[in-house]
Each structure stands twice: as C-alpha cells, then as structure tokens.
Symmetry: C2
C-alpha cells in the first residue's frame, strides 16, 4: 500500500525565527501590520509500507534521523493513503 | 478580531525541487526507500482584521506581493480565529 505523509517541522517555542521576523518587518513596510509571523517547513513524502502503522513509524524514524533536529524542532506527521 | 492564517507555499508542478531530491537520496542511504519527497514552506501569521473576509484578503495580498513568487509557487491560505 502506498501512503502519503505530510511532515511539518516547526521551531520550538523560544527559538529565534529570523526569517519570520524579517517577513513581519517587510510586510509592515508594505502597509500590512501583523501581530506575528512564524515559519515552518513541510515535507510531503510518498512511501510504500505494509500498514499505516509501519508507514508512520518509518516517517517518525526519518524525522528523528534526518529531517528534524530534535534540539530545536517540533514535528508533526499526518498520514493518509495515497490516491 | 484577531485571526490566525496558515499559508502554505508549494512549488508548481514541473518545478525542480532539489531539496526534496536530496532528502530522498539521503533517506535512501539511511535505508528508507521513498517514492518521492517534496518540500513546501509554511507561514503562520497572526493579524487583526475587521472580518474573516478582510483578513483573508489581506493575507492573499501579502502572498502576492511578498511571500510567494507566482511564477513558481502555488499557495493556499487557511484562516481561523485566534485562540
């Protein structure tokens, strides 16, 4: 079965987000006032696995070993069957 | 009223995604076979607006003027009231 995983990597609270800060400032220069702008990264992964459980576990291991940095990132995984 | 917008910026189909390609290869070296890996960027924006409609329009303008590059990006906006 083929699965589609959406991994969202966010900075842990308290981590500086210079890209978000810069975009907030640039939006202000364009006349758009915002309370805050924060950035995150998203990875869409298509993979084959025997079950949703094993797909989720594989993606979780991918995050821990490569995609996320556990010191500074929180990550969430949304899994579905591929269309 | 304060609103929370989640903007997702994806590459248009056909655009090269070298970061996704590199991660797919690196995952392969770690023993994780994937069909595809694609990347996207997410922006979480808190803003004040008079209505959900005007908040959505403001965020749409922000995307067109600053956050997205319409030549290479598709973007989607999810809007909700801030907690």
């Amino acid at each position: 079965m083929q699965y589609h995983a959406e991994v969202t990597i966010e900075l842990k609270s308290g981590m500086l987000d210079p890209e978000g800060t810069t975009i907030k400032r640039a939006l202000g220069h364009l006349g758009y006032q915002t309370e805050s702008v924060a950035t995150a990264k998203k990875y869409m992964i298509e993979l084959d696995a025997e079950s949703a459980g094993s797909a989720k576990q594989m993606v979780d291991e991918m995050c821990q070993k490569l995609i996320a940095n556990p010191i500074i990132h929180n990550y969430t995984i949304e899994l579905g069957e591929s269309k």
